[in-house]
């Protein structure tokens, strides 16, 4: 670099010095292309996965989709088997999961953020909850079997949809807590101070200002957690969903919660381990159906977020 001293020197050198030089920021453009490549790889991978499933399951999806959706599991032949019980079971389990995980998780988050205010106890609890979010789901399955299906047999009725839902509730609880904590922390303190400043009590600040402001994020997080629960097979297999059968008989809606149950991911597992290529078609078709179900739930989350974002 030349040291510019005289005004004349600055003027004559300017055109040259300011000209774009090729290759000046190679690292920058290389990094950008690296990022684009990673994005294409990630989405492409998912697209291929989806395409393969649709192709593999095409015979069922195009031919007898309605039959497949409305009939139960059958051991006799792949053509007679459907996913009806799985869909109902998954929805039941998800409902139970939501009933147990959402109130508990949101309440925990409110306590941690608004009452414990980052004290030592809250920090320890929060750290542990974050670690719990990383525990493999099969571990929750064991917990569910021991606690919800056996110890609490009197309440859950054994290996039932209630026990399964409670197991998944324990599994997604950390996710619900963490997203709710983040949502509450994202509410600016200026909003709390504004409310306190005109003489609001703690309850009024929480219920009228903080929770409404955090609601859309909390809803999104909890619905995404439920979507995660919808896709889980491993813990449910441990808590009794392995049979693949569910007979309603004369049972009413409530009684089905305390009888034998199954769930879509468990059905897929059952389809996939049957011998014969036509069972594989069923497994692929059922996978597409569960994907659609999860996408629908995620779509609901987006809808709720937009609906509640600026609610007044």
């Amino acid at each position: 670099m030349t040291i510019l001293t005289t005004p004349a020197g600055i003027a004559t050198g300017a055109a040259d010095a300011l000209r774009k030089r090729p290759g000046a920021d190679v690292a920058g453009s290389a990094f950008k292309w690296l990022l684009i490549g990673a994005t294409v790889f990630a989405t492409g991978f998912l697209a291929v996965l989806l395409a393969v499933m649709i192709v593999d399951g095409w015979d069922v999806l195009s031919g007898n989709l309605w039959y497949f959706l409305t009939h139960g599991f059958s051991q006799r032949s792949a053509g007679e088997a459907g996913v009806w019980q799985g869909i109902i079971g998954s929805l039941q389990v998800a409902l139970v999961t939501g009933v147990f995980a959402v109130p508990t998780g949101v309440a925990t988050a409110i306590y941690l953020v608004e009452y414990a205010q980052g004290n030592r106890f809250a920090r320890i609890v929060e750290l542990n909850i974050r670690n719990l979010a990383g525990v493999p789901s099969i571990v929750y399955g064991l917990l569910g079997l021991a606690v919800f299906a056996q110890t609490l047999r009197g309440f859950s009725g054994g290996t039932t949809a209630i026990a399964g839902g409670m197991t998944l509730a324990a599994m997604v609880l950390p996710i619900v807590v963490i997203t709710s904590v983040e949502a509450l922390k994202a509410v600016p303190d200026s909003l709390r101070e504004a409310a306190y400043g005109v003489g609001a009590t703690k309850w009024e600040v929480l219920s009228r200002q903080v929770l409404p402001a955090a609601l859309s994020t909390i809803l999104t997080g909890t619905v995404l957690a439920l979507a995660r629960a919808l896709g889980e097979a491993a813990p449910l297999i441990l808590v009794g969903a392995a049979t693949g059968f569910m007979s309603f008989g004369d049972a009413n809606m409530f009684e089905t919660f305390t009888g034998p149950y199954t769930a879509l991911p468990v059905l897929i597992f059952n389809f996939a381990r049957q011998p014969g290529a036509d069972w594989g078609v069923n497994a692929a078709a059922a996978s597409v159906i569960i994907l659609v179900l999860v996408l629908a739930v995620n779509g609901l989350a987006i809808y709720l977020r937009n609906r509640f974002e600026r609610q007044w």
Binding site: Q117, G118, N119, P188, S190, L191, R192, E193, A194, A195, Y196, G197, V198, G199, A200, T201, E204, R208, Q209, A213, R310, W312
Partner: protein
């Protein structure tokens, strides 16, 4: 009626000094105050009790183990504008937030010493901080309207205080008029407060503060996020509001303090050998004196721009 309540509601008696005084008469009524730790200030002694809203004696504020502000003694006079000036970190905002017990929302914050409001010790267990904040309103550094309509922003406080639905329209109009905002927003009361400009939002926050009919309004650098024109409007507003309210304002802008305040308190900050910076009150006097004839060399250095 308790004596304290009586003190709060009683009108200043006719023989009390005129509060809307010119700078000279203010100066003559407020002999220069020795702030070097004297417990009872001469000003406090000279005044009838109805003339003093707050009397602070040897106030220390801690955040955990950290001493943020030490040894502040001063009195705030009724229907005057009192300005707190000083460099960043000198504790003036910390001190301001003591007057409506806002500091205790911060984990570990602690106030020692005495802050007396109309004869009532603010920091005793029997005092309800919610009621304190209803009487001692606050306007913050950045405009912070609720994510609600203009109307609901103003009506929020009165609703909490139990105002009837039928009274709300009146309260909203009165408060917005008092904050010089009514004419600009009367046709869009039901629209978002976020649609207002920064200066309008700040006047909305002032209207929100006075909607609950407080006794005192605390203002924490209310103009620091505003342009000069919006600042000018807020300053005019402050001059008008002091006929009804006692105003304490923190400002970084010394010209602003000189323009709008009757009394000025200059705070400074000192670091101890551990590097902890503790604020202290250097000088408290009528504004005209502080800016023309400061007693402490640190005040003079600050207001003439040699430090800070």
């Amino acid at each position: 009626m308790t004596p304290e309540k009586a003190l709060m509601t009683q009108e200043p008696d006719a023989t009390a000094p005129e509060v809307m005084a010119t700078a000279e008469t203010v100066a003559s009524q407020h002999p220069r105050i020795d702030v070097s730790g004297a417990a009872a200030t001469p000003m406090a002694a000279n005044r009838a009790d109805t003339q003093t809203v707050f009397r602070c004696d040897d106030v220390h504020v801690y955040y955990g183990d950290f001493l943020a502000l030490r040894n502040v003694s001063l009195s705030i006079a009724v229907h005057e504008v009192t300005a707190f000036i000083g460099p960043s970190g000198c504790g003036k905002t910390t001190f301001l937030r003591c007057f409506n017990r806002m500091n205790e929302l911060i984990e570990g914050a602690r106030v020692e010493g005495s802050i007396n409001y109309h004869g009532v010790e603010l920091y005793q267990d029997e005092v309800d901080p919610v009621e304190v904040r209803r009487r001692v309103g606050m306007v913050f550094q950045k405009p912070n309207p609720f994510p609600k309509s203009i109307y609901d922003n103003i009506a929020y406080g009165p609703r909490l205080a139990g105002a009837k639905r039928s009274e709300l329209d009146d309260i909203v109009e009165r408060s917005l008029t008092r904050a010089a905002l009514w004419d600009e927003v009367r046709d869009r009361l039901k629209t978002s407060a976020y649609g207002l400009s920064g200066g309008q939002q700040q006047r909305l926050c002032i209207a929100r503060a006075i909607a609950v009919q407080p006794d005192v309004v605390l203002m924490d650098e209310p103009c620091s996020a505003l342009d000069p024109i919006a600042t000018g409007r807020i300053e005019e507003l402050i001059a008008e509001l002091k006929t009804d309210y006692t105003i304490i304002i923190v400002t970084h802008n010394m010209q602003q303090a000189a323009r709008i305040s009757d009394m000025t308190a200059f705070f400074s900050v000192q670091a101890n050998e551990m590097g902890q910076r503790t604020g202290e009150l250097v000088e408290y006097a009528p504004t005209s004196l502080i800016f023309t004839n400061p007693e402490d060399p640190r005040t003079e250095a600050y207001i003439t721009g040699r430090v800070g």
